[in-house]
Amino acid sequence: MYRTIVALILMILPQGVLAQEIKLPQGLSGLSTMPAATTLGEDDGLPFDLSGFIESRIGTRLQNDPYEKQTSIGETRLQIGIEKDFSNLTANLVTDFIYDPVQDNYALNLQTGQGFVDIREANLVFSPFSFMDVKIGRQILTWGTGDLLFINDLFPKDWNSFFVGRDNDYLKAPSDAIKTAFFFGDYNLDIVYTPRFNADRFIDGTRISFFDRARGHLSGRNNPVFAARPDKWFRDDEVALRFYRSFGAYETALYYYNGFWKSPAGQNRTTGQAIFPKLQVFGASVRGPLYRGIASAEVGYYKSAAGAATNPLVRNDEFRFLAGYEQEIAPQFTASVQYYLERKLDYRQYLASLPAAAIVDSRNRHVFTLRLRKLLMNQDMTVGLFNFYSPTDRDGYLRLNISYKITDNLKISAGGNIFYGTRIFSFFGQLKNNSNIFTALHYDF
């Protein structure tokens, strides 16, 4: 029958010139059933899934910083990730073991990530109903549309890691939370409950020097910030909600947050200690294709603690806005731009409440970002640049990165974190003494 069909076809078709003979692929004459699996994957015989890496990373400041060590980073890090699937449950444990002579502090603090062990993930994932997923325990959480700028993502960040040149993954600090996700057809709702406030791993002087407005000068490791961290279980808690759905290719979301400013944003009037005032955020975002790329926009209304408008020691209410666009502008070459606004609300009251000789922030802080990323050599090499520039602060921050994969597992990389600005107290300008370059050797398994 097979032959009959072929003959039939030959009869129907006008006879062309006989094509040059090519070799038929194996298995085509008298098609056979699929041979046994020929997977490349290794089954290492472990009762769980193991992954991780080991890396060494070293970096130096490009200038003398009277308040910090010359070495900006010098650490060896071993990450062990274990994942175990049970019938209706997945358990994850991702732990970093760190040897860090720069920090030189091995006392364990799992909240701040200080010490020789940092647990990144320790959670259980399960679906109690078909419309519901739950993740409980230590986890990394991200949402929103910004690229290295965040409005409605109020999960903890690790700014120290970001500025000293650790891998990008480390910008996200873990949360100890319960995430419950509901899926009702087109409408979805995420509820993240953090029973005890998880602050940012903020700039406190131990690694990165900064301008201390209370003291009126630069400050560093000899005088680190001891902030009054809200730490009462179930009272100093955080709730973050995201309600989202897609309209065709466009993704929209509404957000709500009730908790605290994630980095210190105020001072105790009597003790002068840095504090995390109460914060509520109401926001929205949209993301989707535009022209030849992806466009996004996000807004947020930051409602600070009661009385913030007239209290110079507590950060004001703010309106925040972000718009971004990304496009591939040449093969394997992507560019993206963002515009970001932080606008102080109640600005007149803010001005009126400031003490004489205090630093006066402008009403609006505008920031533009540019990201360029090029892949080379069969995508084994990546060259990247990210620049923040604020015309209102007249300052900025340039991140450079180049990496090359020597093998599938071994990667060498180098980069720089360059801060610039004209004023010692501005957002990025205050970090000028921390400009650094680094290099790393990284082995994945």
Partner: protein, 271 residues
């Protein structure tokens, strides 16, 4: 040979026949045009079954013999009955630095695909700008378009020759500035309509890239290329691609291709 195996082989052979007969449309005796053949080849390459899953291995070998490995599980689901919109879920397992990352594509006809990347270490769902379809897929010698299919209306097609086994079709881009080649030829198997070989030429007729199907097997009645190679004759690099654990019509629910399953891997369907 064991009788059972013989019987199996015979059965599998018999199964191919209805599929082949259907594909060739023997009920309609009108001669096949170049476009008919290209349509069938497109169907056989990218649209067999309503959905499917496969473990894909890639061995990327550069001109100096250095080898890189990629491995991922791919889930595919077709939208509608005509060969049009498709959804892909790609779960990476190798190399270690991309393990557990997910790449999701909704392929549209006539407009840019929608793409997402999920980075588990950041719990980040990233929307990716549509890229030139003729750039490398995951660093291999296969282009995005080779993996997900090229719009059959983007080229004009002509039967240039044939023999008992295959047709040779010459394809010329309607918009020559949109692609790196001047033309390409495809050798399409008459019985299965699988492309056996494809060669891309520059304006002088020099071969730029060459695809060859190396091994074909019957999977649930669908003739499937389970081993193939793409060579870049300019750089001297090549990529061997193998399919294993191929399944068709597994009943993939539509919601697999949503943010929910980017963040929470659908293990049941990846196994």
């Amino acid at each position: 040979m064991n009788h059972k195996i013989k019987l199996l082989l015979l059965l599998s052979f018999l199964w191919t026949v209805p599929a082949v007969a259907q594909a060739q449309g023997v009920k309609n005796p009108a001669p096949l045009t170049a476009m008919d053949i290209v349509k069938k080849a497109n169907h056989m390459s990218y649209y067999q079954g309503k959905d499917g899953r496969a473990t894909v291995g890639m061995r990327i070998i550069d001109s100096q013999g250095r080898t890189r490995i990629r491995q991922f599980v791919i889930l595919r689901k077709d939208e509608g009955k005509t060969d049009g919109e498709q959804k892909f879920y790609v779960y990476f397992t190798r190399p270690a630095d991309v393990k557990k990352m997910v790449f999701m594509v909704i392929k549209h006809i006539g407009r840019d695909d929608d793409r997402w990347l999920y980075l588990p270490a950041l719990d980040l769902v990233k929307r990716i700008a549509a890229s030139d379809q003729r750039t490398s897929f995951v660093g291999s010698n296969f282009f995005y378009e080779d993996v997900s299919g090229r719009d059959i209306n983007a080229d004009s097609h002509k039967i240039v020759s044939q023999n008992k086994n295959y047709y040779v079709i010459e394809n010329k881009p309607k918009d020559p500035n949109s692609v790196e080649f001047a033309s390409y030829k495809s050798w399409i198997h008459k019985a299965t309509f699988l492309p056996l070989k494809v060669e891309y030429y520059d304006a002088k007729g020099k071969v730029l890239r060459r695809y060859a199907a190396l091994k074909v097997a019957m999977v649930a009645g669908y003739p499937t290329v389970i081993s193939s190679v793409m060579e870049n004759l300019q750089t001297g690099g090549k990529t061997l691609m193998s399919y294993s654990e191929v399944k068709y019509n597994i009943g993939l629910p539509d919601n697999i291709f949503t943010e929910r399953y980017l963040r929470k891997v659908p293990r049941k369907y990846l196994r």
